[in-house]
Amino acid sequence: MIVSIASGKGGTGKTTVATNLAQSVGFGVQLLDCDVEEPNAHLFINPSFEGSQTVFLPVPEVDEDRCTYCGKCAEICQFKAIAVVAQNVLVFDDLCHSCGGCWEICPESAIQEGRRELGIIQKGRSNGIEFIHGRLRVGEAMSPPLIKMVRAFQDFNKLTIIDAPPGTSCPVIAAMKDTDFVLLVTEPTPFGLHDLKLAVGAAQMLDIPMGLVINRSDLGDDRVREYARQEGLPILMEIPFDRRVAEAYSKGEMLVEVMPRWKDRFLALYDKIRHLSSQQTQNTKNQTRKTKHRP
């Protein structure tokens, strides 16, 4: 099963939930930190890393001797990463989305695949947890390609937990897409609610079952709970505000180690997720069955 942990608003507690859930389940778990712009799960899990792999994206490299300046590459490029003006071909690497359109369409076969550095991927282990994260190159604008490369390590025989980036745009979609369950972590504040609605919208569009964790649950107001009730969004866990939780976090300590009674709660969370996720699969199967028998 693949569970992605998202939020909308940053700082609600995704990494806290992701790392402690992984640690509580322990053996047979994969934790993929897909917040490649600023991965931080490793600070808590402390995996022993087995080296580091630099990864690249293909970008066009034009052979000036073969180019006839026909401009077809510039025409096909949706991102204006290649421009042909006055017997010059300009390539803007940073804008290139590596679609390969330009080198496919070049009638002179004048464009090769060059590369630009995307970032690094690191793998490691800790207490039976398989840990993988990506770290985007400083100055690189695009995270989804690196997120996809980290997700390529998904092992379908394991429980894969994905720590998603904050927000609701392309990087989050890349982290959430094709997962079995989205666990949304929020806080009961106006900002929390506003961004939660966006995240719910995104998960609904991807048609993935969802559940909610409310962090710092005894602060703020009731509007998140009210919203969850209206949407039929199950609240799977609440974490009341506790200074000790914040202190542990600030020291890079795991909540389930500092306050061991939380381990059972995270295991209960995992059970609920499994239950809800299999219910959804059952519903989908039932629907298909109904459609087949329609006269």
Binding site: K80, A83, V85, A86, Q87, V91, L95, G167, P171
Partner: protein, 167 residues
């Protein structure tokens, strides 16, 4: 000989639009007789690559110079490679700036005058941690966007042609 001016409107008495890549429209004028054509700027709503596309458009129209307010790094590079003179940091009506050009009072530049995404209106994401929006407002107002450049475009240039022809 034709020159292009980034404009907020379709007539000679319209005000120059200070954004190059995301201006409302381009007026391509023959300074000799002041006859002109108006083109809506198709690049205005692009979230990225607007300057490059606008420059490419003008190069395809065989424009020899552009008069505008600000150009970003990608636009400056593409215009320069195309051999198009850039007269930046101008303001006033289209007619006024063309007359200034004709009198020889303007100095060309080959450098960008602002960071990328200058012309995006308010609400453009600056790539911060919350709700990473890339909203391009696409409005035709004179929005002085606060888009902090996410990329300092450094286009690699190949090709034999010396793109610096001056006419």
């Amino acid at each position: 000989m034709k020159i292009a001016i980034s404009s907020s409107g379709s007539r000679l008495d319209a005000q120059l639009d200070p954004r190059f890549g995301r201006c409302a429209c381009f007026l391509i004028v023959d300074p000799a007789d002041m006859r002109y054509e108006v083109f809506d700027n198709q690049s205005a709503t692009q979230s990225s690559g607007a300057g490059i596309q606008a420059a490419q458009f003008l190069a395809d129209k065989n424009v020899s110079a552009v008069i505008t307010g600000h150009v970003g790094p990608n636009a400056a590079q593409t215009l320069t490679a195309a051999g198009i003179d850039i007269f930046a940091e101008q303001q006033g009506s289209i007619k006024d700036v063309v007359n200034r050009y004709k009198s020889g009072a303007l100095d060309p530049t080959s450098q960008s005058t602002v960071d990328s995404h200058f012309g995006m209106g308010a609400g453009a994401g600056t790539g911060n941690r919350r709700g990473q929006s890339q909203g391009a407002s696409g409005g035709h107002g004179m929005g002085q966007g606060v888009g902090r450049g996410m990329r300092q475009g450094a286009g690699r240039s190949t090709g034999r042609g010396g793109g610096m022809r001056r006419r």
